[in-house]
Symmetry: C2
Subunit: 160 residues, 2 copies
């Protein structure tokens, strides 16, 4: 009987006509995602970053040398709108972690490049982030993690 169960029980009492069986799963998924997001955010905040800025830096870092991608490439992996990406790049540029370079092949576009400082920061943050992720999943046993991951993979496939 967790908080979500209590919510379902209230609904059942007030609106017995509603079949709230799907609400439990979706409610738990949402709440869990919020809790985990807050935990993850702390690690980044300690390093002057946020999940949002790390997302961008990490995408550049993962792409390998020379750590350069177009805003469009960055958009493709990060699930945000183009306006939001412009904003994120502005912030990171102000912080000196990325720079905008002219794209010699297409003058509409720009190239976002990690600076040396950006590379250091993202590598440091990634190390701490991965350790923190292990802490966050440690509540589940290895078997539970594997089962959960398999179910999430199947479910996620329905959306992308």
């Amino acid at each position: 009987m967790d908080r979500v169960d209590r919510i379902l029980a209230q609904w059942h009492r007030e609106r017995p006509d509603l079949d709230v069986s799907a609400m439990g799963l979706l409610g738990r998924l949402g709440r869990l995602s919020t809790h985990i997001g807050r935990e993850i955010e702390k690690t980044f905040a300690e390093r002057g970053l946020s999940s949002s800025s790390f997302d961008v830096l990490a995408t550049l870092r993962r792409s390998g040398p020379p750590y350069r991608l177009s805003p469009g490439d960055l958009l493709a992996t990060t699930m945000v709108s183009s306006g939001t990406m412009t904003n994120r790049i502005d912030q990171l540029e102000k912080a000196g972690l990325v720079e905008r370079l002219d794209n010699p092949d297409d003058r509409r576009g720009v190239i976002i490049a990690l600076t040396d400082e950006g590379l250091k920061r993202v590598d440091d943050a990634a190390t701490a982030h991965v350790a923190n992720q292990h802490r966050v999943v440690s509540e589940l046993s290895p078997e539970e993690r594997a089962n959960l991951d398999a179910l999430l993979r199947k479910y996620l496939a329905a959306f992308e």
Copy 2:
């Protein structure tokens, strides 16, 4: 080999020192929650609501007649800050869906009450929302849903 797998493969190539085994599970959970949140939002938007405003209205509705709670009560279930709750109530009050009443027992506080229009709107939205939730979980079989829910329940218990 989904998008998350591709991200993990990139990390492995660039930072083989990192053990990214936890990242897959957490990444899928986050992406899934974002996708589902967007689906859910659509149903509310069609009715002039949002997940945020529905959250407040639904909490009042579920509490049963006379559909009145203090802002503090509302805070306890909705996972937002007090400033955010004040904001949400302001919006709903402007829309005529709730009203602020004096609390006779404690003059610091107020009582948030569903209006007749608010009751209608939340009952209508809840019906549509529940149907939409069923659509959203229909990608999984009943067994998969039960397994996923059980794992999420266990995991969520670690946070609340």
